[in-house]
Amino acid sequence: MAGYTYVILVPLIPLVTFLLLGLFGRYLGRSSGMIGTAGLLAATLLSFLTAFQYFFGANHVNGVYEPISAFKHTWLQFSPGLSIDMGIMLDPISVMMIVVVTFIALMVHLFSLGYMKGEERFTTYYAFLSLFTFSMLGLVLSVNIFQVYMFWELVGVSSYLLIGFYFQKASAVAASKKAFIVTRFADFGFLIGILILGFYGGSLDIATLVERLTNTASPEFIAITAASFFGISVLTWALTLVFIGGAGKSAMFPLHVWLPDAMEGPTPVSALIHAATMVVAGVYLVARLFPIFSMNSAVLSLVTWVGVASALIAAIIACTQTDIKRVLAYSTMSQIGFMMFSQGLSKTSGEDGLGYMASMFHLFTHAFFKSLLFLCAGAVIHYVHSNEMRDMGGLRKLMPVTHACFLIACLAIAGIPPFAGFFSKEEILLTAWNENLFVYGIGLFTAAVTAFYMFRLYFSIFWSQPFPTHAKQPATAHQQEGSLTMQLPLVILALCTIAAGLVPFSKFVTADGRPLETHFNPLFSVPPVLLSIIAILVAAELFKHGDGRAANIAAGLGLVYKAASKKFYVDELYLFVTKKIIFPFAGRPAAWFDRNVVDGCINGLAYITASTSNAIRWVQSGRLQHYTLYFFGGIAGLAIIFIYLWK
């Protein structure tokens, strides 16, 4: 489609800004922030244009949104059929994603102008942001599964760089390392998955793969289902491995350990990468290959249960954390859990495709309110100079705007109508209701818990004790709430949070591209909303006054509480495996073996030679008569060998 070639600019503009800032940042200084933001503004507008053209344009062939390959270039030809192509694929989800990514990124850029003011590496910061935006856009627009992998790695690296932005803080360095390695471990699975799919599917092009592997008659499909490894069909293996990749990026249990630590990075970064965009890449990946996933119920149920588990566990942990960013991190994990399991429960077509649409919808709304939450948290932290709840409280007077926005976001995530979160969560629960009541139960419970911990957060930040009494004094520079550039994004996002839910999402984004009529049933939505409200009230009761009630209950829960607050010891487990098993039982032995055994053999040879030459020195005794004797001996020896033996 020639009409869409301009879309290539959407990812390219951030790339250009990245190069600009990266190479000449030194000379740009303060203005670099402006450049980055301006560039992104352009990208955002373009992506809006794309969305408009795509959804309201002509390509609505008999009610289906055709996927459009706007641009494609063979980048690396492995062998006939198998090649990495660089391209741009437009279909409902990718279009939706570029809108989300560019928009949130724009907000974050704006916010950072104020937030990062006076940072030493201001330019670098913006360079990295642009790099991330570029990679994320490339990821969502991919035509080729290997292209996905490449940008997958790139977002990983840019997140690494941004988490480790405060490179002199040991904790930041450790966190960035952890984030990269954990996700890398997952990517290893992803890579193998790709290799398998590529080999059996005979192509790396997503469209082709989907087309071949969803047609049960095609030789590829027969081959991949017929072949089996340890008794499990290769298709299952491949999809599981791919899903592991996704789970790693999306911080699904048990690969979630990196996400909370990732909060070491600057808060806007957390808002962009670790709330709105990168962490949902896993969900996006599953959605991208959803037709193939739907061919294999085993993997789908795996997706479901991983999603459910993550949602629940994360929610419980979130109730116990005291670092506000960590709370948000866990809530992110939990929400993504929702998206995952709703996909796991979905089917490809028509009404049954509800789950797919719901998860995309939730992804959409979540992006807004979660980034809003993070930015608010950023504003608070900027003001208080601390992440800890106990340093906060009673801020509602001091920072009204932030307070309002935060409240809206909380309501949204708690699923209170008419805010965005309500609608999307509704769809998800509906899916669960239709498909699996058990999951529905857990979903319901988790939703309530969500409401609880969010309002715990809300109250203990903005209510409880009056602020200045016990916390350390804020710096005079920040007596007022923060510059316009910091407040504007909050407001905009708040408005979106209110509005986003009203978007007739199912008209545009569905599993099979056909508009889907969602009939809204008020009766169904009573229980969740009711539960949430109750949860909110409980939270208010416990935390509004900031006295010991919460503590008593925590004490009452005892071990459970402790376990939860220690994140169920998953981190400790990982540490044990790496520090106590891999290093001492794989690394050190290898190093030792190399230095002592392998190298020892080589040196041993030399040593043996030397000692032999020392041992036989007596032969050269210096006695003429011995020499003559040897002479005679030689002759005798030869004579014996060749006259008696050799015949």
Binding site: T609, I616, R617, Q620, Y627
Partner: protein, 469 residues
């Protein structure tokens, strides 16, 4: 007729003439050592040049003496080596009382070798051998006051006498079983009967002794260490080369019928030699002794070459000896210089040598690399062809062991290089100024080492000549 004789025996006659000339000079009025040295070197140069002119092949004295282009070439190589040695030894000779005698001794040795090379008869061969041995013993004792020198001479004369008596015993048996002493008549009469094999073993031992093949090599190290540097280099290059030439011709022509037997003997002996040489060379500190053992290892490799087919074998051996002349004499040249000027002969003395004498260090290094067989020095080609000729027989176990042994030899050559370049030394050998003659000699050797491999003509010429055998 007489013209033929003159032409065929030109090199021998020239040597005789030179010997007598030097003796007459001695009879004449007293001269300074310098004048002797310069005169002799000029003579040697003439001899060398003349060697290349008007060579033809033929026989004399019913096959007692035979010559062909290859032999002429071999003799020329030897006289080249002789010239280089005499130039190098000038530093040491200047201070010596008996210059003419020294030359008379060495030249008569050369004469013996020449006769040996073109011997067509066991008697002639024996005479040549003895003529090339006995004066050497005297020459080895030429540092009259040094204990070691006379000890070396003693060991040389006794063990060579012993070996030659065994050789004679072998010859007598050959004579007994075939009834002939003429090379051309012996082969048809050789049957593989034990007595002949035994006789051959005795002869082989005689040769092995001269080219110091284990276990007949014991004298080598001691004599090399004790004898004056000049004599040592003469021993290691000229006499070894000469005997090698004879050895290959005898093996390939006279003892062809026994080939099956001697191939296996060479197999055993060469491996034994390479290994012994290497093992002993590793831990030497005296430079001459070190080179003695390394040269033993070299001989081992040469035997590998000899064990190959006749033409390729001959060619590679002659070629290697030519290269060996250059590289070994380059090394000995530096040593002669250093020991002549400072009296230091230990490898440890050479630590930090590069700081003070970069030029000499490079020459020595190049020489050692050539001995080790590292490209682009000629030694690489020499060794490659030797092993290659050996591989021609298809005995790859043999080649593999030999090739792997090169690692050890690399070790000890590089050890010296390390001492020269890398090791620290509080008081290294002081900077030496190199006199003219040694300088020329060293340059010649270095140029030779660096170019012989690349001048295609040389190897191809030798290969062409080798068909004669």
């Amino acid at each position: 007729m007489w013209v033929d004789v003159l032409l065929l025996m030109k090199q021998e006659l020239m040597l005789v003439a030179m010997i007598f000339f030097i003796l007459f000079l001695k009879l004449g009025r007293e001269r300074s050592n310098e004048s002797y040295i310069s005169i002799v070197n000029v003579l040697l140069l003439i001899n060398l040049v003349a060697g290349f002119i008007g060579s033809k092949q033929g026989m004399l004295f019913n096959e007692m003496f035979r010559t062909n282009e290859l032999m002429v070439l071999e003799k020329n190589i030897l006289s080249l080596a002789m010239l280089i040695i005499s130039m190098q030894s000038s530093v040491w000779l200047k201070t010596h009382k008996h210059v003419p005698e020294f030359y008379v001794l060495l030249l008569s040795t050369m004469l013996g070798m020449f006769f040996m090379i073109s011997a067509g008869n066991l008697l002639m061969f024996y005479l040549g051998l003895e003529l090339s041995t006995i004066p050497l013993a005297a020459a080895a004792n030429f540092d009259l006051v040094k204990r070691q020198s006379s000890e070396a001479a003693l060991k040389l004369i006794f063990s060579s006498a012993f070996s030659s008596s065994l050789l004679l015993f072998g010859i007598s048996m050959i004579y007994g079983t075939t009834g002939s002493l003429t090379f051309s008549q012996i082969p048809p009469l050789l049957t593989n009967d034990p007595l002949q094999i035994f006789a051959f073993i005795l002869l082989l031992a005689g040769f092995a002794f001269k080219i110091s093949v284990a276990p007949f090599h014991m004298w080598t190290a001691d004599v090399y260490e004790g004898a004056p540097v000049a004599v040592t280099s003469f021993l290691s290059v000229v006499s070894k080369g000469a005997v090698l030439f004879v050895f290959i011709s005898v093996l390939y022509t006279v003892f062809k019928p026994l080939a099956a037997a001697w191939y296996n003997m060479l197999f055993i002996l060469s491996l034994l030699t390479i290994i012994t040489g290497n093992l002993f060379a590793i831990r030497q500190n005296n430079f001459k002794r070190f080179l003695a053992f390394s040269s033993i290892a070299q001989v081992g490799f040469i035997l590998v070459g000899i064990s190959g087919s006749s033409q390729f074998g001959t060619a590679s051996v002659v070629y290697f000896v030519l290269i060996y002349v250059f590289s070994n004499l380059a090394a000995f040249g530096v040593i002669a210089l250093v020991s002549g000027l400072t009296g230091k002969e230990n490898i440890t003395d050479y630590k930090g040598f590069y700081k003070t004498n970069p030029l000499l260090s490079w020459i020595l290094t190049i020489a050692l690399f050539s001995l080790a067989g590292v490209p682009p020095t000629a030694g690489f080609f020499g060794k490659f062809f030797l092993l290659f000729a050996g591989a021609g027989k298809g005995n790859f176990l043999f080649i593999t062991i030999a090739a792997l042994n090169m690692i050890i030899s690399f070790y000890y050559y590089l050890r010296v290089v390390r001492a020269i370049f890398m090791d620290e030394n509080p008081k290294p050998i002081e900077t030496l100024r190199i006199p003219l003659l040694p300088r020329i000699a060293l340059y010649t050797c270095t140029v030779g080492v660096l170019t012989v491999g690349f001048i295609r003509f040389i190897y191809n010429y030798i290969h062409a000549l080798s068909t004669g055998l």
